[in-house]
Amino acid sequence: MVNKKAKIRKYKKRDYQAFLYLLPWLVGFAVLQLYPFITSLYYSFTDYKISVAPNFIGLKNYTKLFTQDPEFWNSLKVTLLYTLYTVPGKLLMALAVAVFLNRDIKGINLIRTLYYIPSLFGGSVAIAILWKILFVDNGVINAMLNTVGLPSLQWWGSTKLALRTICMLEIWQFGSSMVMFLAALKNVQKELYEAASIDGAGKIRMFFKITIPHITPIIFFNLIMQTIQAFQNFTSAFVITKGGPLKSTYVLGMKLYTEAFSYFKMGYGSAISWVIFTLIMTVTLILFRSSSAWVYYEDSGDF
């Protein structure tokens, strides 16, 4: 690290061949990601509609979004609530299951595979539709509630419940986080537990004093990934509830889609996408900032 400049000078002409090999990715990145990324920023300052050429209108889309659009603040609230429900819910669920699966019993590999299955389905439309049918008023879930003597609930019809039902779908797909937690749990040195148990520490104390600190990097990673994903949620709301009832599941992703692709207001849609982008960026940066206070790295490497 001492002589940074000297290091850079070491590159020879031949080294730049690397870019040739990188070209497929570079072209893909430039055409499919960078270009749309920049044009959407430009469009967000225009009144671009699909069939009419864009006119520059300055910040109008943004002022309209923040001051006049009654749906925006509702959608923002719904998105934040969705994130607040799903991210901790999913992490707790994944960690709990990982702890449960982190043991040596017969057939553990099969059990692990079974628990991972919901995540293999991913955010697929088919699963969203299945979820919808399970939770309809005369669906399986209510029938099960009734057999144990509980009343039926309007999972999709109630403005209070619909968002939570969608969150449950997301939390249920905890597999990928769970696998990472499981790997992290396996990495915690056994000696630490042995030493602690000799010192008389109980299981719960060991979990909070040894396990949790050692897996904080993975908690951090999962937290960031899940948060980004939650802010961008679209599929379940779009397929199951179409944002209803009474816009109670109208997440920002759906508003973006509706404005851009149903009402053809591409400029306005682009502005919304940049608001979501900024929101994700800010939250991610805050999480990164906070990480130095609670994330523990064994190799104490620095960024």
Partner: protein, 453 residues
């Protein structure tokens, strides 16, 4: 460890963020140049007067619809391709879900299929883009169509140009369970008003409180009750399309929202929270419909068969449509369920026209297509279908009633996706009693006004 994680993180973040910024599709030039290219080389002139080039020609035809429609359409494509072996027609078909979202971006980026099926209410949105050929430019034979029908803008004619061809006759129909209605003592064959519906709704609940008079969700209340009632009351559409002004008054809106409230309050229709899971065109999945718990439902002529297939055991018939007392217009919309258009980006528009000429005017094609796009649009095709027995009695009755009751066609502003969404939201608020009708009418009115301000 930390470095590895940071690299993974950065990569993933970039991907996630780019996905987020990826919302606007490919850049689009607003209008596409008129590319009526004459095909290179000489061609064969068909007996219908179209020139088919000698080279290999591939055209794409996109539509939405079920399997039956797809099979019939593909069969007609095959027939045409057998006649002209150098022509290949590729069908692009699927569900109506998201069809127009995709079509919009394709039209804007010049990648739409050569022949496209379009929803007539969405069609006006595309007129500004100058995307479609005028069928008259090809000397298209329109003689099988009824001029008064094909001349309507909702059926494809804009400013004297025939930009689309209607594929059928559709409109709202009232499908009812004849035996159940007779048992309870309800007669849908007479003329009746919206108030009668409320009266009958109560009667049904008194007869058996597991039954409802009408199977109806918020989208059908919007499309069937609100638009129709307003046209009956006002004798005009909600907006003036040409001057881009609003005809609707706040009182009119309040009146129709009060009617919607009465439908809910008197349990003529199931609660909004129950129907929330069966929105849009999904009423046939309602288990109560399947179990025969409704006396009737408003549906479209083109979807009668879908509703019947979901609960096939009842004895159905088509009833009359509600008209208010002293109505200024019958208000019921009768129009094609879709139009077919040839895009200007097509390399072989004349081949497309030759194919559509076969599609609409050839007897074999008529027989193959039958009623897969609702009741056929031409008298000749209806004759063919009746002769071959492919036209169901329910669909025929529905088409007759809806054309008899045909009134004003909705204006393009109120029937745009956004206009419909605003009204559907008001209906939903009434259903959930989220505010008084007065407040909901006032806020909805200002949103509607915002569409033309």
């Amino acid at each position: 460890m930390k470095r590895l994680i940071s690299i993974v993180l950065v990569c993933l973040m970039i991907m996630a963020l780019a996905a987020c910024g990826n919302t606007s599709d490919k850049p689009a030039t607003g209008t596409t140049p008129d590319t009526t290219q004459t095909p290179t080389g000489k061609g064969t002139v068909t007996d219908r007067g179209y020139t088919i080039p000698d080279e290999d020609v591939t055209i794409r035809f996109s539509w939405w619809g079920g399997d039956e429609r797809a099979e019939a359409t593909l069969a007609v494509i095959d027939q045409f391709m057998k006649m002209y072996p150098n022509v290949t027609i590729e069908g692009e078909y699927g569900s109506s879900d998201g069809y127009h979202d995709k079509l919009s971006t394709q039209l804007a980026s010049g990648t739409a299929a050569d022949i496209v099926q379009v929803d007539p209410e969405t069609f006006p949105t595309y007129i500004g883009g100058d995307y479609f050929h005028d069928f008259k430019d090809f000397g298209f034979d329109l003689s099988n169509f009824d001029e008064s029908y094909i001349g309507l803008s909702i059926n494809g004619r804009y400013d004297g140009k025939q930009l689309g061809l209607p594929t059928g006759i559709s409109g709202v129909g009232l499908l009812y369970n004849k035996d159940l209605a007779e048992e309870i003592g309800i007669d849908f064959t007479q003329d009746y008003t919206w108030e009668d519906l409320i009266e009958w709704g109560r009667k049904v609940r008194e007869y058996d409180d597991s039954l409802y008079l009408l199977c109806m969700n918020k989208d059908y209340i919007t499309n069937v009750v609100v638009y129709t009632y307003l046209k009956q009351k006002m004798g005009d559409t909600m907006f003036n399309m040409n001057e881009r002004t609003i005809n609707l008054q706040n009182e009119d809106l309040l009146e129709v929202l009060n009617l919607v409230k009465a439908l809910y309050d008197n349990e003529v229709i199931p609660p909004a929270s129950y129907m929330a899971a069966y929105s849009g065109d999904d009423m046939q999945s309602d288990p109560n419909w399947i179990a025969g718990k409704y006396v009737a439902c408003f549906t479209y002529v083109s979807t009668i068969d879908v509703m019947v297939a979901a609960a096939p055991d009842q004895n159905y018939a088509m009833g009359n449509l509600a008209v208010m007392k002293d109505a200024k217009n019958t208000g019921w919309q009768s129009n094609t369920p879709q139009v077919l258009a040839i895009t200007k980006t097509s390399k072989y528009p004349e081949v497309c026209a030759a194919f559509l000429d076969y599609f609409f005017n050839n007897e074999t094609a008529m027989e193959t297509l039958a009623c897969t796009r609702s009741v056929p649009p031409t008298a000749k095709a209806r004759e063919v279908c009746e002769r071959t027995g492919t036209l169901s009695t329910l669909a025929m009755d529905g088409a007759n009633i809806t054309s008899k009751m045909a009134g004003l066609v909705n204006d393009g502003i109120s029937s745009s996706q956004e206009g419909k969404a605003i009204i559907a939201e008001a209906v939903e608020k009434i259903g959930y009693a989220a505010g008084t009708p007065e407040d909901i009418a006032a806020s909805t009115y200002s949103l509607l006004k915002g569409l033309v301000d």
